[in-house]
């Protein structure tokens, strides 16, 4: 029986960014942190060595990120550059009205999501609700405790 592997949706640009980040972590950051740990060890007593503790903590965060990125490559599914469509797809940039506010953002795969940079995951409540919608349509989206009506104003 074949296992269904959940694909990770990415644009080519997103995948390139992830590859660049991975290369930097492997070839620059990992050796740097190893050197810092070695230097901190030379200060002696590890139980009272805050520089050692900080470097070890940073190393575990770094290794976790490397492992996370390594999982992406075999599961990556590249989506084509979006041609303008009359309904929302992954890659669309949309303008919506939500709670008397006008929001503009792109809908991207979860790996590329960065709400502060106006990139919203297709798996977020807003992302899921908007996929397939046409301009002018209104949909209600909720995730406890928040409920909101969203009106699609424009697809860019």
């Amino acid at each position: 029986m074949r296992h269904l592997v959940k694909k990770i949706i990415l644009t080519q640009k997103g995948l390139d960014q992830i590859k660049a980040e991975y290369d930097e972590l492997i070839s620059v950051k990992r050796p740097q942190i190893t050197r810092r740990i070695q230097r901190a060890r030379e200060f002696g007593d590890l139980s009272e060595n805050s520089a050692y503790d900080a470097a070890k903590e940073e190393q575990s965060l770094l290794e976790a990120r490397i492992a996370q990125l390594e999982e992406v490559f075999p599961k990556a599914q590249i989506i084509e550059q979006v041609m303008t469509t009359d309904f929302v797809v992954i890659g669309s940039t949309v303008v919506v009205e939500m709670n008397d506010e006008v929001h503009e953002f792109a809908i991207v795969g979860s790996m590329e999501a960065d709400p502060a940079a106006k990139k919203i995951s297709n798996e977020s409540p807003v992302g899921k609700a908007l996929l397939g919608l046409k301009v002018g349509e209104v949909i209600e989206v909720s995730l406890d405790p928040v409920k909101s009506k969203i009106k699609l104003l424009e697809i860019k």
């Binding site: 506010e101 106006k118 977020s124 807003v126 995730l143 405790p145 928040v146």
Partner: protein, 454 residues
């Protein structure tokens, strides 16, 4: 150890990541901050509504009458005294406190000479000059135009809370801090989320808009001196001048040590005192700490979104109540779209809401200790009474159980009502809402649970 009446609070410098030269700069700036404390002491007078800004034997109407001929009497930066001929005269701070300010400026200039950062050196020079010649605007403008720098230093006549007569005269204060880069990153993320949407505004012509010029940082404060040491603020949003803000933006600073102190000694114990025991188990201390910290920066970011040019003139003495509570409520409301965009989790939003309620009680406790912060307590009383009325929080033997769905709906409605008053409300509208909802009895009812803290 600093004597209790001296308005100076020093925080730990352990673990600071500073170069030798930066440490020398910080040392000089701390000296400058310390030297401002005596000036604040001379302005302070808790027995007098006008503190020591005006002569004690003069009435409010006499001051207003005299200000018709001499507007400087109501300048934020003058001390009003009676001349020999009985008339009121206004002396600018930089002349009145020249001797003390010369000493302060000397420390700042010495720091400017040491720092390796040219921009910061220039800013310190401008700041020192401003203290001596009263050109605070030039100093503010230079400060706001500067790129964010590791060391933060603010000094001068800034906050108006001690002038309970006119809410006009500024008290001296200073702080020195260094940036916490990780937490600053989180604060910037929230700022970017919130300012990235365009809001529908009731009266666009009255709205002050400078969203692209807001800076936010979280600092490890090293010293508070002057008024800030008395009030132990957890955050600051400067400048106070709406005109400068509109042209040059604003800088929000969150003070991590005073925040942590407030959280550990007040807000977290309040959480345990007002919420039901089983409910408490869902929220580990660090989740609540982050929720509470985010409340701080949401409040300050929201302040910048809710500036209406004529609100202070229309609402008069009610303005500070609406100004403060609307920012806190709006900040929580803004998190709704962040949840739907997956920018925060449900648990994170709940922690923000729960700590909003704890913060309400915290301001009531602060008011019991320092009556001049009554506008914060009244503002939060409006929120709590509104939530109780809507059934979002219920009481039983002093405990409350929030229904988060109802609570969020209430927050949404209250945020709209408060902004409406700030944007177009009349004095009467403000008065009616205060009379209906601002009763502090809501806090008193929880008194038995909070007796260890009060």
């Amino acid at each position: 150890m600093t004597p209790k009446n001296i308005p100076i609070v020093r925080f730990s410098q352990k673990g600071l990541d500073l170069t030798t030269s930066e440490k020398k700069v910080v040392k000089k700036l701390i000296k400058a901050a310390e030297a401002i404390a005596p000036i604040y002491l001379s302005q302070e007078n808790i027995k007098n509504n006008g503190a020591n800004f005006y002569p004690r034997d003069i009435t409010k109407s006499q001051i207003l009458e005299a200000a018709k001929d001499n507007p400087e009497i109501l300048s934020p930066y003058t001390i009003v005294e009676k001349a020999k001929n009985g008339k009121l005269r206004a002396t600018p701070y930089h002349l009145k406190f020249k001797k003390e300010l010369t000493k302060v400026a000397r420390f700042i200039k010495e720091a400017a000479a040491i720092t390796d950062n040219e921009d910061f050196a220039k800013r310190l020079q401008v700041q020192a000059n401003a203290l001596l010649d009263g050109n605070y605007e030039a100093s503010d403008i230079y400060w706001l135009s500067m790129k964010p720098y590791k060391i933060n230093f603010v000094i001068g006549p800034i906050e108006r809370y001690n002038d309970k007569l006119f809410f006009t005269k500024c008290c001296y204060q200073s702080w020195v801090g260094t940036m916490d880069y990780r937490q600053t990153g989180d604060a910037i993320r929230f700022k970017d989320y919130i300012v990235s949407s365009r809001r529908k505004v009731l009266v666009p012509s009255e709205k002050v808009d400078f969203l692209d010029k807001i800076q936010i940082r979280v600092d490890d404060a090293l010293i508070f001196s002057g008024l800030i040491a008395r009030f132990m603020f957890t955050s600051s949003n400067l400048p106070n001048s709406v005109n400068i803000m509109e042209r040059y933006g604003s800088e929000i600073t969150i003070f991590k040590p005073s925040f942590n102190l407030k959280f550990d000694e007040e807000r977290h114990p309040i959480f345990h005192a007002v919420f039901e025991e089983n409910f408490q188990k869902n929220y580990p201390a660090e989740v609540l700490r982050l929720g509470s910290l985010r409340n701080c920066y949401l409040h300050e970011i929201s302040h910048t979104l809710l500036r209406y040019r004529d609100a202070e003139r229309r609402l008069k003495e009610y303005f500070p109540i609406f100004d403060e509570i609307s920012a806190s409520v709006f900040g929580v409301k803004a998190c709704g779209s962040l949840l739907l965009k997956d920018a925060i989790s449900q648990k994170e939003l709940e922690a923000i809401m729960v700590m909003f309620i704890a913060m309400a009680f915290s301001w009531w406790i602060s008011y019991l200790k320092e009556p001049s912060v009554i506008h914060y307590a009244q503002g939060f009383a409006i929120a709590l009474n509104f939530f109780v009325e809507s059934g979002a929080i219920r009481e039983s033997n002093g405990f409350s159980w929030p229904n988060f769905t109802k609570l969020f709906v209430s927050i949404d409605q209250l945020a709209d009502s408060l902004e409406r008053i700030l944007a177009i409300g009349t004095y009467d509208d403000a008065q009616k809402l205060v009379e209906k909802y601002a009763s502090l009895d809501i806090f008193e009812r929880f008194g038995p649970n909070l007796k260890k803290l009060v």
